[in-house]
Symmetry: C2
Subunit: 214 residues, 2 copies
């Protein structure tokens, strides 16, 4: 984790990571994940296999890198604690999805949305990636529980934590269903809308969407 020292270093580092990931997703999509070796990716990006492992701990991470966990956690922490758990979590997921898929600012984010879709398709079709993707959800679940203040706050009530984990896990599962559907539709349907529909299907129409939003 050598980065924050020099902003220029960090920038170059992020650059090569993006390059590497782009080549990886392209090759995996073209030839298949298992049929593509890390060496292939390295050659396509014009570096040595060693360098790939410097930037991505495993081959799977070439597809799975994700930084939106913090986004969700922030929105949850900012939401009103008076609302029911699933509404707090659900709204945070919907808002984060809107931020992710909505056009960034000015440029419609078609390119990045296509990239996200390509990664998602790989995750769905490749068992190893699918498994690790779900495990990432598990980590995100912990982050959500912490953001709810139920994790290891001052009074770590195991009962409260248990409830929060159950709710968070269920919400994430619903979101996952929405993600799958989104990928099937090639991103034509709006993702936030799909997530809202999935949450409504699981928890009932009254739970999500109503109430004051943070």
């Amino acid at each position: 984790m050598p980065d924050q020292h020099s902003p220029l270093r960090a920038q170059r580092r992020a650059e090569t990571q993006r390059t590497l990931q782009a080549h990886a997703v392209r090759l995996f999509t073209e030839r298949g994940y298992d049929a593509t070796t890390v060496t292939d990716v390295a050659e396509a990006a014009g570096m040595s296999p060693m360098t790939v492992y410097r930037h991505f701990p495993t081959k799977e991470d070439l597809v799975l890198v994700d930084h939106n966990g913090r986004l969700v956690a922030e929105r949850i922490a900012a939401s009103s604690a008076a609302q029911p758990l699933v509404r707090r979590i659900g709204n945070a997921l919907i808002d984060s999805a809107a931020t992710l898929t909505g056009s960034g600012r000015g440029d419609d984010g078609t390119a990045s949305r296509q990239f996200l879709l390509a990664r998602l398709r790989l995750m769905i079709s490749t068992p190893a990636l699918r498994a690790r993707h779900l495990d990432n959800h598990y980590a995100l679940q912990q982050a959500i529980v912490d953001a709810l203040g139920a994790g290891a706050g001052d009074a770590a009530d195991p009962e409260t934590a248990f409830r929060a984990q159950a709710a968070a896990g269920a919400c994430l599962a619903a979101m996952h269903t929405a993600l799958m559907r989104w990928a099937e539709d090639d991103g034509r349907t709006e993702l936030p809308h799909l997530i809202a529909k999935a949450l409504a299907a699981a928890f009932g129409d009254d739970v999500v969407g109503a109430g004051p939003d943070a």
Copy 2:
């Protein structure tokens, strides 16, 4: 899949698989999953590494083998279609858990429960196993959707399937939370009760437990 031809063959096969799995879980628990090689397991069981791979396609499967998917599916198919989705699924999960952990008949299933706990602990602590375990849940989710008649029945309404998937995924996530808690408690709390509590936390106390059961 060469088995059903001779019942004697199948029996011996199942025997060696149990032996192999027992040694594997023991060694993994003692030395750690990553620190134990497949060759170690093979030696402990007195066979060649090759034979291990004949019976278990991957090292992970030595811990993850599970046959209770059918159990859940049957209970769901037998439940009344008039009830809300999450209640049908939730009750099926609770009943299956009761069947699994409850003393079989006569002998209290302490040994098998300890074995189940050991496997669960491995799944929780080892990232690779955790990931594949969650992926198995994904497969179970599909089975549930099919059992609900929403999968590929005559009229495969994508909207119905979507709702069923969201509900099933959410229920399984809640059950997973209960499983974790059960493992933390070393199985002291009754698993069905924990699952019911997790479902209630996610979906509300009124959804689960009430209504006529199938």
